[in-house]
Amino acid sequence: MKIEGQYTFDGPRPILWELVRDPQVLATCLPGSPSVRKTGEHEYEGEIAIRVGPISGAFAGQLSVTNEVPPASCTLTVEGKGKVGFVKGVGNIDMTDQGPGKTLMKYTGEVQIGGKVASVGQRLFDSVSRGMIDQALGKLNETLQARSGGR
């Protein structure tokens, strides 16, 4: 499934860039705030519990940041595998200054799901993935505000 969208952040681009390319920070924006371990230069792994109402699943996942063009764009790849199936998301993000203290992030990408969640849960997938992206961006913005306000 294709994903596409944009979000205006309340903070300057260089700080947002630092946050985005730091998986430890990104992890805190994901549902359940998983802890991540560094496994390579730009690669991390961790466990994440996703809960959508009564449906919950634990996923063991990897996160990596590639194609970095600081402080403007990069590619985030998230992969997770659990009892209910697997998820893989690849997103290209592109950031531009949007007036003083504002940064516009555009993202495009592709989300793949497989296994049980794909075969019997498709009805919810679009809504869930959009909801999770919105939630993660919101949290990232909170972190950004805290970080940039603190400087």
Binding site: K83, F86, I113, G114, G115, K116, S119, Q122, R123
Partner: protein, 781 residues
Amino acid sequence: MTKTLIGQRVLRNEDARLLTGLAQFVDDVEIPGLLHAAFLRSDHAHARLVGLDVSAARQRPGVIAVFTAEDMGADWAPGPPLVSPPPTAKDVTFHSRRQVPLVKDKIRHAGEALAVVIAENRYIAEDAVEDILVDLEPLEAVVDLEDAMRPDSPRVHDDLESNLAAHLFQKKGDYDAARQQADLVLRRRILIDRGAAAAMENRGIVADWDEKSQHLTIWDTTQAPIPIRNGTAARLGLSENQVRVIAPFIGGGFGPKMMMFYPEELVIPWAAKKLKRPIKWIEDRRENFYATTQERGQVHDVEIALSKDGRILGLKDIFLHDTGAYDPYGLTIPLNTQCHALGGYDIQNFTTEVSVVFTNKTLVTPVRGAGRPQGIFVIERMLDAAARELGLDPVEIRRRNLIPPTAFPYEHGIIDQAFAPLILDSGNYWPVMEKALEMIGYATFVRDEQPRLRKAGKHVGIGIAPFVESTGVGPYEGARVTVEASGKVFVATGVGTQGQGHFTTFAQVVAEQLGVEVSDVRLVSGDTAEFHWGTGTFASRGAVVAGNAIHAAASIVRRKVLELASKHLETPEDELELEGGRVRVADIPNRSISLAELANLANPLRGAVEPGTEPGLEATAYFGPRYGATAFGVHAMIIEIDPETMMIEIKRYVTVEDCGTVLNPLILEGQIHGGVSLGIGNAYYEKLHYDENGQLLNASFADYLIPSATEMPRIEVGHMETRSPLNELGTKGVGEAGTIPVPALFAQAIENALADRQLEILESPLSPNRLYELTSRKEAG
């Protein structure tokens, strides 16, 4: 014969048991010590299997064993090919790649089995499946047919040069020359997508190895018990007599239960023998969606050449056929498509070429219709397009092209699914169409009703679609008919059954010959211990091939009965009649002898049996047709569409069928109703949605939409009867008839209802969403 049972609305022998819950289906088999199996299946459609750690699963309490491909050792081997490529046709390429019992190195479709857990119950088995750790290296999946044929496509089978599974070219006449003479040449691209058979009963198998008697008993939801018996024996190194396969009551098959062997049919008997314990595996519904075979995916590039008066001068059809990850069923489906693209029309010049394509999707084998609906969709869509271009009524263009009754047997000169030349045995097509037109009131509707309703703002449309159905193919079936000492009759055949009423229609054929009540004929159809020659129930052939074998056996028994009775009653045979379970002298009711007495006389406990004679009133006979009988039919429908929501309401639905001699009209109507409901599903409700990674997105009955009672219209059924010259009973098959023309009919009726939008439909299945997209695109573009 004193009374005629053939053609009567006889009630079914099997119903009382089915209605009270006593009929035994495979999942109803209970054996002391029975173990239960669950399979670990791949979440990925295409991946390399790197590692499989089953140690935790083996440790779980209640788990007896966990097997992987590695554990099968030398017993691991792909399934056998079911159908070889046609031996006679030239220009055939065929790469045989068959399903594997458990994946050894590479996963080729989502849901392919990686390991099996055998446990004390199914709950524990499923717990243990979740304990298995799988390490996969995902590969890019091959999903779209055209993409699969690109040179840079990933390959489903690494050892092949491409994803081409097979290629077959056939022609009659000279299409290119015909095209030169044509007034009108139309070209269209037609897409047909996949659906599921979705029998209510999922697949299942119980295997019981008796170590002491060295005997294996298998209960299997198969449409073909005898080939399963033979194949299992061969694989396990047993004599065929050590294996008994029972296909008890089957909860619907519709084709996929004809597939042999499924991986589970290879693994469960093997495991039962290895563990020396009975094992049951029952497929669940989610498994059924990706582990049971599917059908229909094709992409056609079609060209039709016509004269200006609407005569078809030639047809050219180049198409891709999706076979999924393996191709054990050979070319049956694409051959059916090729033959049925000719419809019931007199087409002299025809070129057809199919490329069968491997994809990372579930295997494709016949589903009720088996390639025929696609062929009919192609020709009927082209005729509708041509009628529009030429300003002809859709009925008129068909009338001008239907094969005339004088032309039968009509030889087409290409080969059919039985690898025999395609010959249409008999038919009288136009009167069937006329009857359908009359039943639906075509002329009045088009002339008066439709204009009136359109004026009132209603979008109503009519469709009428004729079709042929190749049925009753060989090679053969057999049967044994026995008059027992009680005077009741026992019939054994190997054909198998899937709910079509064989216990009754076959009993009628026997009762007719032997003058007994239908309810006094007991039939066993799917037990290799009772009869062990035959192939299976598929291709609308049960009533034709097994029916005629049973008829032949019953006729021999009738002769034996008459011969013996003649001696006993001291009356010439031609003065005897069989009725009410007795043989009596015509006109002298009290000079008679019962079948029971005759059966005892034929099997005496003392005295001498004459040399050269056989004991008992019993006969075994076989029937193999020279070639298949071709049935014909016409469906007509009136619909109303809400153009804002694209919801369709079926106002009238009419079918007229000519399937030769009708054995039991009640059962025939039931077959047609059921076929139409699958057809309506195919046309408008049912589609297997695979995403671009080969994930099936609707593996549940919540998302895979089978028509329910509130979606189905009342179906009005008419009959015509043109006997088949190929068999004694004059029957043709009908099992798939109801399904075949429905997608073509829907497309036609929708175009007619939305005439103001000038929509052309070149795909199946449809949905409100798709119709909205097509009409919006039309408006935008």
